[in-house]
Every structure is written in C-alpha cells, then in structure tokens.
C-alpha cells in the first residue's frame, strides 16, 4: 500500500481573479502532504509573471515549501498534460467555474478534457479561498470495484492529513441489483428485504476495506457508511451536496468514450454539476 500517495502536486495557473486563491489552496495542500508544488503556466516566461506568482507564494515560501514554476507555450490541455508527465505530478489541481446562480459549479471545457485524459489524480476546486477553510466532512465512494480500495485508503490518508472530523463511505447500489419491481404491497415487502440484504453485503465489504487501513489514519475520525440505491456517480454527488460534504473522493472512470458524453454516467455527471470539491483518484 502506498502510504504517501501524493509526492508532487501540480496546478495550472493563469491570471484570473481566482489566481491567488488557487495558489494558496495548492500550496497549503503541498504543505499538508509534504509534497512538492509545481505551478504550470501556459505562456512565455517573463520575470513579471514569475514575480507575481512568487508574491502569492510568499507566505508558503516562508514555511519552506518546495516549489517549481513551469512556463510552456502551446495548447493548454497538451501543455498541462505533458508537464504532468514530465514532472511526475501525481495530484493535479484544477479550478471550476460557476454557472448562473451562486451555488452551481461546473468544469469548463479545458479542465474537463484534462480531467478525462490525465494519468494522475485530479482535484477539482469549486471555491478556492486564500484563507484556510477546514475540510470537515469527506464523502468517498465505496463502489464494488477493484480501484475502490485504493480510493478509500487515499480518502482516509487525506482525511488524516487535513485533520477532518468525519468520513462517510457511500455504497451506491444500482437499481438493477435489487431486481424487484415494486407494484404492490407484496413486491414492496420483497424489494425491502432484498435491499436490506444488499445493504448488509455492501456493509461487510466496506468494513473489510476499512479494516485494512492503517489505524493511525482512522483515529480521531468518525466513520460512517451509507448505502444508496440510485444511479452510479450521480447519486453520490447528490448525496455529498445534501450532507454538505467538503470533499468528495471518487474512483477514476473506467473509460470515457463519445457515448459516455452523450449519455453521461459516473464521473461525467459530477463534472457537469460539481457538488463540492472533488478528488478523483487514479
């Protein structure tokens, strides 16, 4: 098991109103994870720009942050992806955009492309802030999937490092598994029993995963499980929003093809409607 999943953290930086907040968030995370921070800027290298970034990083440089600034021209998606590989970045931070009303966020087209193609974990921030806002509640998916174990373990690692209070593992059980259509009282009873059984099964599975996690990550952390019957990928986002989670940790999608974008599933739902900060583990 990889006990230190994040050694190098990368962030794409452009001169936007969010720049200071984005850099602050990334720098803070680097300190928490004791990781190296790589700022990637798409554009020519100028002293002005470099100085600007450095002023934003100033408070963290004082705390001995290990950082590097990369300047590269070209297509933003290609630049960020190639830099990620060159610098061996294992956590890429991207900012999200707001839609219409104050509460709605979505991932813009560039960030979305990067999310789909990146080979490393991706953290999508909806509301970066200059000052630290504590990450209290983490929601992580507990799907029946080979990647889930790593995802859950990472979530516990993050929770430990960010000293969160609570972690909820959400088991999404698709309706097909229940396989009972509710028509009348009899089928309702049947489906309730089936669901109860599925819940127990899922709970045991998740318990096993939790048992394998180093106990230092689990101490001082309230651990909950919550089975949900609903559409994969979508209902967990909805759930995270309902419980006002601060971070949602998810498996990376298996593959994304053209059809997935037309009929969105799993991660694609989350990208169109970010419920909170989302960490996608690869």
């Amino acid at each position: 098991m990889n006990l230190k999943p994040f050694t190098t953290i990368g962030i794409g930086v452009t001169f936007s109103p969010n720049l200071k907040a984005n850099i602050s968030e990334a720098a803070r995370l680097s300190l928490f994870f004791q990781a190296k921070l790589v700022l990637i800027h798409v554009g020519d290298k100028t002293t002005d720009k470099e100085n600007a970034f450095k002023t934003f990083l100033k408070p963290y440089i004082d705390q001995n942050i290990d950082y590097e600034i990369v300047f590269k021209t070209g297509d933003p998606v290609d630049v960020i992806l190639s830099a990620t590989q060159e610098k061996d970045i294992d956590l890429l931070i991207l900012g999200a955009l707001q839609r219409e009303t104050f509460f709605k966020y979505y991932v813009g087209s560039i960030a979305r492309k990067i999310t789909r193609q990146a080979k490393c974990s991706v953290l999508l921030l909806i509301n970066p802030s200059v000052d630290r806002i504590a990450c209290q509640h983490i929601v992580v998916n507990g799907l029946e999937d080979p990647k889930t174990k790593q995802t859950v373990t990472t979530a516990f690692y993050v929770a430990h490092k960010l000293s969160s209070d609570k972690i909820t593992i959400v088991e999404e059980i698709s309706q097909q598994e229940v396989a009972v259509n509710v028509d009348d009282d009899k089928s309702l009873r049947k489906s309730t029993i089936v669901k109860e059984r599925l819940k127990l099964r899922e709970d045991t599975r998740v318990k096993k995963i939790i048992d394998d996690i180093p106990s230092e990550y689990k101490s001082s952390l309230a651990i909950n499980t919550q089975p949900i019957f609903g559409k994969r990928g979508y209902s967990i986002g909805h759930y995270a929003q309902v419980v006002r989670a601060d971070l949602l940790v998810m498996n990376a999608p298996v593959k994304t093809s053209f059809w997935d974008r037309l009929f969105p599933h799993d991660i694609e739902h989350i990208l169109t409607e970010l419920p909170t900060d989302v960490l996608i583990i690869r």
Partner: protein
C-alpha cells in the same frame, strides 16, 4: 402453506359480503352500462357485455382489490367519434386493437401513462368529456333528438331545447321530457336523502324500477299504451341466446386508415388514464389500504377489452362511481367484481324484455348528471384556488378537446403547461439540461435508529419527470418516516404537489409520516407560484358573521363553561381509526366545542361517502370522548331490519345471553368478542338500555357518539353532550 389456507378461509368468510356488494353494484351498473353504450351510439347491450366480460376477466387476472370494471364515461367521447367514422364493426375492431395496446403497455410496465400528464390538463380533458356527454344527452333527456356537427353546437343549443319543452304538441314527447326531468331530479336529490332503506338501492336503479313500474301501471291498471313516445323507449335488448348466436364481425378493413389508428390511440389513452385515476382514487377508499398492482390491472383490462370487443362490447376500464359503491357496501376483494358481472348476466337473462320499458330520457338523465359531475363548476373553482395559470391550462385543454378532439386536447394541455412553466421560470435551459438527469436521491439514513427515508430532489420536479420521484417514493414502505427535501429544487409544479399530498395522506393512514421540506425558500422566490399556493391555505376573504346556530352553540358553550370555535379544522386524523370512517372521506370538522381538559370534543363534521356520481356529502354532529384508557374496539347501534340484512351478508353481532333485551334492541359489532363481553358489564348494559339510542363506536381508547347523519339542533347538542358525560362516568366505573 398455513398462510395460504388462512387466505382461502378469509376469502370464504368474506364471500357473502362480496356477493351482497356485487349485487348492489350491479344495480347501479345496469342502467349506467345501458346509458353509456347508448350515449356512444352503440347498441345498449354493448355496455353490459363490457361490464360482464370486464367483471369476469379482471376479477381473475387483475391486480387491484376493490375496483369494479365496465364501460367508462371517459370513453364515450372517443367511441362516439369511432362509431361515426368507422361504423359499428370498425369500432369493435378498434376496441380490440386498443385492448391489445393496453396489454402491451401493461407488459412494458408503462401502465402509469397518466403520471406523465399535468393534472390540470387531465382535469380539463375530463371536464370536456363531461360536456360532450352532457351536451349530447341533454337534448334526448328533454325529448328532442338532434344531430349536430361538433360538441359545442350541442351545448349551444341547450337553451332552445329547454324552450321547446314548453311548446311540445306531441303528448308522447312531453311525457318523455317529464320522465327525463324526473329522473334527473332523482339523481340530484337522492344523495341528500339519508334514509337507510331508500339508500339500499342506488339512484339509477330507482329510475329503472320506477320507469318500469310506470309502464306496467299503464299496461295493467289503466289498460292504456305507455304514453311516452315509442321513439324514446329503450330498444334492441337481445336475449342471451341472441348475443351468443349473433356475434358481431369486427371489421379490420380500415386498420391502416388514419381515423382508425387515431381512434385506437385515443381509446387506449383515455382507457388507461381513466383506469389509473380510478384505481388511485379507489385505493384511497379501501378500508384495508392495500396497494393495487397497476400494471397487472392494465394487462387484465387489456385482455378484457379484447374479449369484450370480440363479443360486441365496449372498452373495459376501471370505473370510480361503481367501485366506490362496492367499497361502501362491504366489498373486500375482487370477487365482488365477479359477482357484479354474474348478477348482470342474471338481469339480462331474466329481465331482457322488461328493460325495453325504460324510457330513453330517463337513462340519459343519469348521463347528464354524470356529465355535469365531470364538468362541475366546483372543479373550476378548486383549480382557480390553486393558481390562475392552472385555469389557463384547464380551459385550453377543455376548449381544444371540445373543438378538435381528445388527443389534440391533451397534447395542447401538455404544451400549454410546459410553456407556462418556461415562462414562469424564465428558463428553457433548466428543463432541457436536466430532464434526463436522475434528479431524485433517496436513502435510508443509516445513523437514524428508525431508519428515516430521506428523499432529495434537484433541479426541477414537474409532470415531465415526476415519474422518477414517484418511482422512489413507491419503494418506501408506507409505515415509515419520509422526508422529501426540495431545497435543491428550483421548481416544483402543481402536479407534483398534488401527488405529494396524496402520498402524505396514504402514509398517515398506514402509520407512517411523510414530510415535505425545503419549500420555505421558494416562498420568497416569486418564481414559484405553484408551490406557494399549494402551501399556504387559501385566505378566507369573507370573514362571515356567525349563523344563528353558531351563536346558539357559542352561548351553549358559555353556559356549560366550555370553549367554542367556529373555524374549520382539516387535520382530522384522530378520527381515522374509527370503523365508521374507514370507507368515508372526511372533509373537515367545524363548530368545535371542547371541555377544559379537551377530552370531550363536540363538533360538526362534513364527510363524503362514495365518489363521482355516487358521491354523497353528509354533515353531522358528533361527540368524541378521549378515555385515557384502553377498552375493546366495538360499534354499537340500534338493531333494525337493515342490520338483519347485513347479518345475512356476513356481518357479525355479539350476542348477550343474559341481556336478551339489550341483544334484541342493539346491534353490537366487534372483533374481540370475549373482551367486549367482559367490557359490557351490567351497569353499562343498563345504561344503554335506559337511554336514548346513539351510534357509539370505540377505537380502543376513545369513543365516538352521534345519533343522526345530519346536524344536531341546539337541544340535541345538549342531550348528546349530557349522554356523553354520563357514559364517560359509567365507563370510568367499569373495571379495566
């Protein structure tokens, strides 16, 4: 295995009750079947065939419990068009095809078609059907057969037909009109008369009985021919033999024509909508609160419709009025539907010649009343209270349906609703982007011991995606606690709010809780008029002064140092447990008089019995006594002839050997015979013996006392109050 045996035992135990209620239903069904078929311009027997086939097939294969099936009033409008464009045999072919389509819908689990239509549009369509029926039959009712192009023409000509009645030269026509008007009067005033013996026979059957006896009176006593014009008599009732030997040949020749296809679609659509609405309404009346299997029922209805079409009958749908009569007469399972069909066969077998003595105007009066009930002005008023935009939807659907046709009408209704939603939200994107998203999250809260179900809805929730919410809600057992949260939902429409209200009632009745939260934010948001108006009670603009009776009650309350309030109270769930209200719908209680400790509560109550044309609204004065202790559940009433009839039908009386006088005069009903016998000690029995009769009912920890199914006078209020107080004293003295 033992449970299965038990079920069979239960079934046989309930059989007499179901035979009885099947009989009463057949009494109302016979005239309705004849009338509906005639209104559709099909031979009158076609309606009876539909009811018989429906009753037999659906009772065997159906998935609901207390519903009655047969020809429905909603289909009259469609069938009328089909018969005129396709001919009778073509119509039978269309009926058969629509039956097949229904069957397919049932198998595809698409029976819930009605969920996809906004409720105001459905209301508008039903009102239009009502007007189509009313418009056409009104003229026949007054002895003036006319034939016009569109339904609107029929409606416009109503005043001139009324004028014509006064200048009829033909006595036969005048008599026909009189028969019609009298029949209509019976339909209107029958629910107002609360007489047990009169009520045993439904109003439509009274019309049949009276008109047949009228005809016999002329023939046998006066030795004169029937004065009603022969053109206005029911004709062409074949005997059973003729029905079987002269099967129609459905004409499938026009299958590819547009008129045929549109008829089939309209028949299927209306049949499924009418059936679904009826099943939903009847499920609410079911005393055992069972949930019907809608898809199974739709399949059975489809099968029945196919059979009915081949035998020369109309579409089979679930019908509300007959079903409610079934519930009120003690029907408890599908066998009552079967017996209703059996009795119809018996009627045709025995009385097919007598039926030709029924004047057409009398039958049509029943339909005019039906049509009026569908399009009643109260409905418009109700919709207006919900919101003006609902009125637009209602009227657009209504007018388009009348002017063009049913399918166009409902499509227009859906379109207008959607446009209104877009205008109100000033956003098309919200609907477009989110319509396919699984916007409903439901989970059982793990941390909570009781396992509260939490349902959160995102984006918008309207008739377009209500099925998603419904799907989740249906999967929750009704005795659990549910919280539906709309705080992340930008828009909730009237259809959803109305349906949620139904869920709320259902959960309450089954012992659960259903709460809707998160709409307070919408309150301040002007973009949510639907939610707003559903949530806030309609402010009472006319703060009327108290009536004479109310001032008297107020004075009385003061006199006895009790509290009096005249306001209407809608939460009447403390009455739900009483047997008396199991098959009745309580509208509200008002004029409450309460004692200091609030354990004595006297109130006026408005409740209704039955649905649609069999609906009877009753006001009564009752006394509720909270005993703060457990006593057996029972019902005590005066013993009379009717109770003896009921006893035959399987209702049980608890006998008291040592108090034969009490046993003879009172009719005591209850499950736990032993506990009741222990509870009715000498003092209590003597108390009842020497006091005036009241209907006394116990729900286990409180009593309900009332005498008549009408409001009590001042003096009666005093006597009732006094009786209640003394009864409470006596009960307190009995050993617990």
């Amino acid at each position: 295995m033992s449970q299965e045996k038990n079920n069979i035992k239960e079934f046989f135990k309930a059989l007499p009750k179901n035979i009885f209620s099947g009989f009463v239903v057949s009494l109302i069904a016979l005239p309705l079947c004849l009338g509906l078929a005639m209104a559709s311009e099909a031979p009158p027997i076609a309606g009876v065939i539909a009811a018989v086939v429906g009753g037999i097939v659906v009772s065997i294969f159906g998935g609901s419990y207390v519903t009655i099936t047969g020809p429905g009033n909603g289909l009259v409008g469609v069938l009328l068009v089909a018969v005129t464009t396709l001919g009778l045999n073509g119509t039978y072919a269309a009926v058969i095809c629509s039956g097949g389509l229904l069957l397919i819908l049932g198998f595809l689990r698409m029976g819930k078609l009605a969920d996809y239509f906004p409720s105001s549009a459905i209301q508008g369509m039903l009102a239009a059907i009502g007007l189509i029926i009313l418009g056409k039959q009104f003229h026949i009712m007054l002895g003036n057969k006319i034939s016009r192009e569109t339904s609107i023409d029929y409606l416009l000509e109503i005043p001139s037909t009324i004028g014509d009645v006064f200048v009829f030269e033909d006595k036969g026509l005048l008599y026909a009109a009189i028969a019609g008007v009298l029949s209509l009067a019976i339909m209107v005033f029958y629910p107002k008369i609360r007489n047990k013996y009169l009520q045993l026979i439904p109003a439509p059957m009274w019309i049949v009985i009276l008109s047949i006896s009228f005809s016999y009176y002329y023939e046998l006593v006066l030795q004169q021919p029937n004065p009603i014009h022969p053109d206005y008599m029911l004709s062409g009732i074949p005997t059973l033999n003729e029905i079987i030997t002269q099967l129609p040949r459905p004409d499938f020749g026009g299958v590819v024509s547009i008129s045929f296809i549109s008829s089939v679609f309209a028949l299927t659509l209306i049949a499924s909508i009418e059936s679904l609405l009826s099943i939903k309404a009847v499920d609410k009346l079911d005393p055992e609160k069972r949930r019907s299997n809608v898809n199974k029922d739709i399949k059975a209805l489809g099968l029945a419709t196919i059979g009915s079409g081949f035998l020369g009958g109309l579409n089979v749908v679930t019908v509300i009025a007959r079903s409610s009569v079934n519930v009120n007469n003690g029907g408890s399972n599908r066998s009552s539907n079967f017996f209703h069909a059996t009795f119809l066969v018996v009627f045709i077998l025995l009385f097919s010649t007598q039926l030709t003595r029924i004047p057409l105007p009398a039958l049509m009066a029943i339909l005019v009343f039906t049509g009026y009930r569908l399009a009643a002005p109260e409905k418009v008023q109700k919709i207006f209270y919900i919101g003006k935009e609902q009125l637009i939807i209602f009227f657009v659907t209504l007018l388009v349906t009348l002017k063009i046709g049913l399918i166009t009408g409902i499509v227009a209704g859906v379109g207008v609703t959607f446009i209104i939603h877009i205008v109100i939200n000033k956003s098309f994107g919200m609907f477009f982007r989110n319509i396919l998203k699984p916007n409903v999250l439901m989970f059982k809260e793990q941390s909570d011991e009781n396992g509260t179900y939490y349902v959160s809805v995102k984006h918008f929730c309207s008739f377009l995606n209500y099925n998603k919410l419904k799907y989740k809600l249906d999967a929750i057992p009704e005795d659990k606690d549910v919280v539906v949260d709309f705080s992340m939902c930008e828009f909730v429409d009237h259809t959803v709010m109305e349906n949620l209200h139904d869920y709320q009632e259902l959960f309450l009745k089954k012992g659960g809780h259903f709460e809707v939260v998160g709409l307070d934010m919408h309150d301040t948001d002007s973009a949510h008029p639907f939610a707003l108006r559903r949530l806030l009670p309609v402010p009472n603009i006319f703060k009327s002064n108290l009536t004479k009776r109310q001032t008297n009650l107020e004075a009385l309350a003061k006199d006895y140092s009790l509290n009096y309030t005249s306001t209407k109270r809608k939460d009447t769930h403390f009455l739900d447990n009483f047997m008396f209200f199991k098959t009745k719908k309580i509208n509200h209680i008002y004029n409450q008089i309460t004692g200091e400790k609030e354990d004595l509560l006297m109130f006026d109550i408005e409740f209704s019995e039955g649905e649609f044309i069999a609906k009877e609204v009753v006001r009564s004065t009752m006394l509720h006594i909270d005993l703060h202790r457990t006593i057996p559940q029972f019902t005590l009433d005066k013993e009379g002839f009717l109770e003896k009839v009921y006893a035959f039908a399987g209702f049980k009386d608890v006998p008291f050997e040592q108090h034969s006088d009490f046993s003879k005069r009172f009719y005591l009903l209850g499950e736990d015979e032993k506990a009741i016998k222990n509870f009715f000690v000498n003092d209590l029995v003597q108390f009842f013996e020497c006091n005036p009769y009241y209907h006394v009912e116990s729900n286990g920890n409180s009593l309900l006392v009332f005498s008549k199914e009408r409001l009590a006078s001042n003096k009666e209020v005093k006597t009732l109050l006094n009786f209640g107080k003394r009864l409470r004293e006596v009960i307190y003295k009995t050993p617990s």
